[in-house]
């Protein structure tokens, strides 16, 4: 999971991302989106490279990263559980799903378990309102969810590698 090392392969991957874009400041968010996607977070090293590439000072880049909730500064867990707290899901009791997950994983939203296996986040509407309430584990969507389903799913992933 940890792709933050300085080994050549990953750095050249960053170069690969950068070289797709012109050195235009307006590409910052596009680049950050790709970096986030690739590494699972935005490593400091990447911030510095982007800073040099686009000629934007690091404080500004850091300001942009911390403004947009999609960007994170720490790697997420292997399994990222995201509970939708959009209104449709909220009305259908998604808060209870979140509470259940917190209890089961012993972490708060925005945190990662010490073993790096799970992270938990409360997300805005993911657009599956017809299935409300929903949560996702990585890209897998669980609709019409109940606290029992949450418990079951977490147990399943706990037993996975």
């Amino acid at each position: 999971m940890n792709k933050s090392c300085n080994c050549g392969e990953k750095t050249s991957e960053l170069d690969g991302i950068l070289s797709k874009y012109e050195k235009d400041k307006s590409n910052l968010i596009q680049i950050l989106n790709e970096v986030q996607e690739y590494y699972g977070y935005v490593p400091t090293k990447a911030q510095e490279e982007i800073s040099k590439y686009l000629n934007i000072e690091m404080a500004e880049i850091y300001g942009v990263i911390t403004f947009y909730s999609r960007f994170t500064l720490k790697p997420k867990g292997k399994y990222n559980i995201a509970v939708c707290l959009g209104t449709a899901c909220f009305v259908k009791g998604s808060e209870k799903l979140l509470d259940t997950a917190k209890e089961a994983l012993k972490i708060k939203e925005g945190e990662t378990t010490p073993d790096g296996k799970f992270s938990l986040e409360a997300t805005r509407c993911i657009g599956a309102c017809g299935l409300a309430p929903v949560f996702t584990v990585n890209n897998e969507v669980y609709g019409k969810a109940t606290p029992e389903l949450m418990k079951k799913v977490i147990e399943e992933y706990k037993n996975k590698e």
Binding site: N6, T44, K45, Q47, E48, I56, E57, M58, A59, E60, I61, Y62, G63, T66, F67, L73
Partner: protein, 585 residues
């Protein structure tokens, strides 16, 4: 179409120029609309919401610091709704502010405190969670305390737009928003150059200089230490402001008197140091010019600029003159020449520089700033800190009898004085270089082309049939423009003066802080600069190389300008600095 606009503000008809903001127009109607985040031409973002007004026919409140007047506009600035809104905005800001006003360095010079007083705030209604950040005290120049930050953004805009640095920016969002460096690092570990312009911009006590008065007091009270003080040219035309005197008042005599009362053993003038800088720099320039040295040569007396150059143009360091700045040159001379003639042990001498600058606090800690084997200067205090010391000593500054600098190093030239303003170093240098190169006496000593408020000034000067092109830049955003030309090889100047602070040292980060309103209404730079130019005009000697004490020291002690001993004591080296000192990259 007429260039004038007629409008009504609080029932008063006024006529103002097209393009005027409602805020400015209100001034004309004798209405002082409150502001907090507004900093003229630097930070006009309408974020704090103190300056809201009502405009007839407009839905909602209007941001007066930004909105331009329009023909026939009817503005109200003092309705019940506006007062309530402003009071609530103030209440909210205070609710998230570390309110230790009595023990705050900005007590009585705080724009928030003033507003609270004016609005009769006697308590905070909307109390709740308060932001909590660790204080950044790592840098030797600047202390950040974000628990006092009001998120006005004046420092951010100054750092980014005026200085072109961008060391700090808004981070996070919503209630968690704050002003921060990358990853919340100390200013000491990022691209900050320690110019301190952010301190000047801050309306509250979130940004201050690192206090050095304690150590100075300690040394003053230590009988074993011989404490020498020197004062930069820009200090004397600003110090009076701390005592309620008009901006730009020259208080040289009172300043010297107060320093003597404080107990300094000797009070010297950094202007003399500046004369040495001219001799060394002028010599270096002539040498580069005649012997195919690296050109343009760029001045090196502004430590903020040096930091900037070392962090951003490490490939261009050979353009920098190898001269130390005037006060460190002078410090080295105090610990060598002065110590020698007075039979003093240099290890017992403590040199204090009173500077308009916070970067100087860093400069004295640099490597290669110990020409005598002892640190050239031991402590730097800013104009503000000196004022605090004077106040603490209960000295009635205004009523002091004027005194003069001490011998034997007190006599300086007018050239040294104008070091404090942008263009001054260039002008002083040209006076000397012109006479040395041509061998003729200069008729007109005023080089008007390098004076004035513009951020970048360029001039051509005839020297012995040779045309010399010079450039003067102040403010680092302007320096960047010049440096990009230098790097690209398109700069056709031979000599460049760069000052980190816009307007030069008189506008340094250690100078008395003025409110946004004063900055908008008074040309502080011009008033202080005029005071320095008038010192120059009134000086008997206006050329550094004619300074008798300087001639004597070269003759008796240093040898030739640019010679071996001069190099040992008065020159230094510059090296690449990491722009960011980030761990875990």
């Amino acid at each position: 179409m007429s260039d004038m606009i007629n409008l009504t503000i609080d029932g008063k008809q006024i006529e103002v120029k097209k393009g005027t903001t409602i805020l400015e127009a209100a001034k004309k109607a004798s209405i002082d609309i409150p502001t907090l985040c507004f900093l003229k031409e630097i930070n006009e973002i309408g974020a704090c919401r103190m300056c809201l007004v009502e405009v007839e026919g407009r839905r909602g409140f209007v941001t007066s610091c930004i909105e331009k007047v329009q023909e026939g506009m009817v503005v109200k600035t003092n309705t019940k709704e506006l007062t309530e809104a402003r009071k609530i905005v103030l209440d909210l800001i205070l609710s998230n502010h570390q309110r230790d006003c009595l023990t705050c360095v900005r007590n009585k010079n705080c724009e928030l405190q003033k507003l609270a007083e004016e609005f009769g705030v006697t308590g905070v209604l909307y109390n709740g969670k308060i932001q909590s950040h660790e204080k950044d005290e790592k840098s030797v120049s600047i202390v950040r305390n974000f628990n006092k930050c009001v998120l006005c953004g004046r420092c951010v805009a100054t750092c980014k737009k005026v200085q072109g640095i961008g060391a700090i920016d808004f981070v996070n969002r919503g209630f968690e928003s704050c002003v921060s460096t990358v990853e919340g690092k100390s200013l000491a570990d990022v691209n900050c150059v320690l110019c301190g312009q952010c301190i000047e911009a801050c309306p509250v006590g979130a940004l201050t200089e690192k206090d050095s008065t304690e150590v100075v007091w300690e040394k003053l009270r230590d009988n074993d230490t011989y404490v020498v003080v020197q004062t930069a040219p820009a200090v004397r035309v600003a110090l009076g402001e701390e005592f309620g005197m008009e901006i730009g008042t020259n208080v040289t005599g009172k300043m010297i008197a107060s320093l003597k009362r404080l107990g300094f053993d000797r009070v010297f003038d950094t202007n003399t140091g500046a004369d040495f800088t001219i001799m060394e720099e002028g010599t270096e320039f002539i040498d580069r010019l005649n012997n195919g040295g690296v050109l343009p040569m760029i001045t090196s007396c502004s430590p903020g600029w040096i930091n900037y150059c070392e962090k951003n143009y490490p490939d261009q360091l050979e353009h920098l003159s190898s001269c130390k700045s005037p006060h460190t040159m002078f410090g080295a001379l105090i610990k060598s020449y002065f110590a020698e003639i007075n039979n003093l042990d240099p290890s017992k001498i403590f040199v204090v520089s009173v500077m308009p600058c916070v970067a100087k606090k860093y400069e004295i800690t640099r490597d290669d700033m110990s020409g005598t084997g002892y640190q050239d200067v031991d402590a730097v205090i800013t104009t503000r800190e000196l004022a605090r010391m004077i106040k603490q000593a209960r000295i009635d500054f205004k009523s002091l009898e004027e005194e003069t600098f001490d011998d034997p190093m007190g006599e300086a030239t007018g050239a040294g004085a104008i070091f404090g303003t942008t263009g001054g170093v260039m002008e002083a240098a040209l006076r000397t270089v012109a006479e040395v190169v041509t061998g003729d006496k200069l008729e007109n000593l005023d080089f008007d082309d390098v004076r004035g408020k513009e951020g970048i000034k360029k001039a051509r000067i005839e020297l012995a049939g040779k045309e010399i092109k010079v450039a003067v830049a102040s403010g680092l955003a302007n320096a960047k423009k010049i440096m990009d030309e230098v790097r690209a090889g398109t700069a056709d100047y031979q000599f460049v003066e760069i000052m980190a602070c816009p307007g030069g040292c008189i506008m340094g980060g250690g100078q008395p802080i003025h409110s946004s309103k004063e900055r908008a209404e008074i040309d502080i730079r011009k008033k202080r600069a005029d005071a320095l130019y008038s010192v120059d005009e009134r000086s008997v000697i206006r050329k550094s190389h004619e300074n008798p004490i300087l001639k004597k020291i070269y003759k008796d002690f240093l040898g030739n300008p640019g010679g071996h001993r001069a190099h040992e004591l008065l020159h230094t080296t510059f090296n690449k600095q990491d722009k960011y000192k980030l761990i875990n990259l």
